[in-house]
């Protein structure tokens, strides 16, 4: 069967129109690693995740239509599609759970800072509020209900230390430079580090926070 069969030709025809799916996948990889490495919660990549999830759903439907088709050739292609599908599902799963872990760690800080709350997806905001309510209920029922009224707050900072845990934005992060950028270091009395594409640095996150969001550097 030397001539390509019709379905191949048709499929090749529409292969041109979607070069963006490789870019979407690369972007998701980038934002997954950025989220893993950054000490604070970053902007939820709503459109990106939605586009990829649409393709995930389309693949699942395609697999379901094809199953029971015992032609080994189609069967083998399905196996490749499923293999890739598992990879993409892992990526989305790890991305979402990385965010949930950060939301749990700095819940009150995010709740009390509108600019941070807007970085969360609607379902993440629901998770955050519900989880905080459950924790408050656990503390109250376990011991806090026996405390005097004025000692039951979970967000005050009397006694020398704030109860609201914030991320340490000065934590060291590892990054690779994407586009040349000069990074201003506040703690060195205003020294500037000329970062060139391809360079690798360990530096405080606070110094490169904006550069990460602009994509000038990528965390690793």
């Amino acid at each position: 069967m030397d001539a390509m069969d019709i379905s191949d030709i048709l499929r090749e025809f529409d292969a041109e129109n979607a070069p963006s799916n490789s870019k979407d996948y690369e972007d998701l990889l980038k934002w997954w690693v950025n989220e893993r490495a950054a000490p604070e919660i970053l902007q939820y990549q709503d459109d990106l995740v939605e586009r990829i999830m649409n393709r995930v759903r389309r693949q699942i439907e395609h697999i379901e239509d094809q199953t029971g088709n015992l032609d080994p050739r189609a069967n083998f292609q399905l196996i490749i599609i499923q293999t890739e599908l598992e990879r993409v599902k892992f990526l989305i799963r790890s991305y979402l759970r990385t965010r949930i872990a950060k939301i749990d760690k700095h819940a009150l800080h995010i709740l009390s800072t509108p600019t941070l709350r807007h970085l969360l997806s609607p379902s993440e905001q629901t998770y955050l509020k519900t989880h905080q309510a459950l924790l408050n209920e656990l503390y109250l029922s376990s011991f806090l209900k026996n405390f005097p009224e004025n000692l039951r707050r979970l967000d005050d900072s009397a006694g020398g230390i704030s109860m609201v845990e914030e991320p340490d934005l000065d934590s060291a992060v590892f990054l690779r430079v994407v586009r040349d950028v000069d990074i201003e270091i506040a703690w060195e009395g205003g020294e500037t580090v000329p970062m060139r594409a391809g360079d690798v640095y360990v530096i405080r996150y606070s110094a490169v926070k904006e550069a990460v969001k602009k994509g000038e550097v990528e965390l690793i």
Binding site: P39, E165, D168
Partner: protein, 180 residues
């Protein structure tokens, strides 16, 4: 700097005790020194946990006098500093204080004119010991091998650095040998 209200190591750090001297008589506070219904006499020397001492040491009463004054604990005393300057690897930090460097950080804010020397010695000590730790973690010389005494003396943050280096080396080796 992120606040660490729920951080277990931060809480345990604050439980560590430091030498204090009461500057004022306080009725009914004898229990801090073990005698329950007595009063606390000015001039009494005792050890108080950091979570208490650090606030009393900065709370003024009349004029500029504070309720207590604090001094460096033995763990940060001159003889220990000299030993660290001489050979940082030989000192068992865990026996001195389980959260040794964190204790140092807290004391830098509490005791005037000690901080320059304290910070210098502690940062040099920390750098040199962590390099040794990383070496041990990457090529372990066996439990009873040379250096095991050093490893037994690691304080808490050093232990976590050892575990981080050790676990990563193990994960790398596992990945290299596993079927790809």
């Amino acid at each position: 700097m992120g606040s660490k209200y729920y951080d277990i190591d931060a809480i345990l750090t604050d439980a560590q005790k430091i030498p204090c001297t009461f500057e004022v008589d306080v009725p009914g506070l004898g229990y801090l020194d073990g005698n329950d219904n007595a009063d606390m006499k000015a001039g009494t020397k005792l050890e108080l946990p950091i979570w208490l001492a650090e606030i009393l040491a900065v709370s003024e009463q009349l004029g500029t006098e504070t309720f207590i004054s604090t001094n460096l604990p033995h763990a940060l005393s001159a003889p220990v500093m000299n030993a660290l300057k001489a050979n940082p690897l030989s000192v068992n930090l865990r026996d001195l204080a389980t959260h040794y460097y964190a204790l140092g950080e807290r004391m830098v804010n509490l005791v005037e004119d000690a901080e320059d020397e304290l910070v210098d010695t502690l940062s040099k000590t920390f750098t040199q010991r962590t390099i040794e730790i990383a070496d041990h973690a990457v090529n372990p010389k066996g439990a009873l091998g040379e250096g095991s005494e050093f490893l037994m003396g690691l304080e808490e943050s050093e232990r976590q650095i050892f575990r981080a280096a050790h676990d990563t080396a193990k994960a790398m080796k596992g990945w290299r040998t596993e079927k790809k």
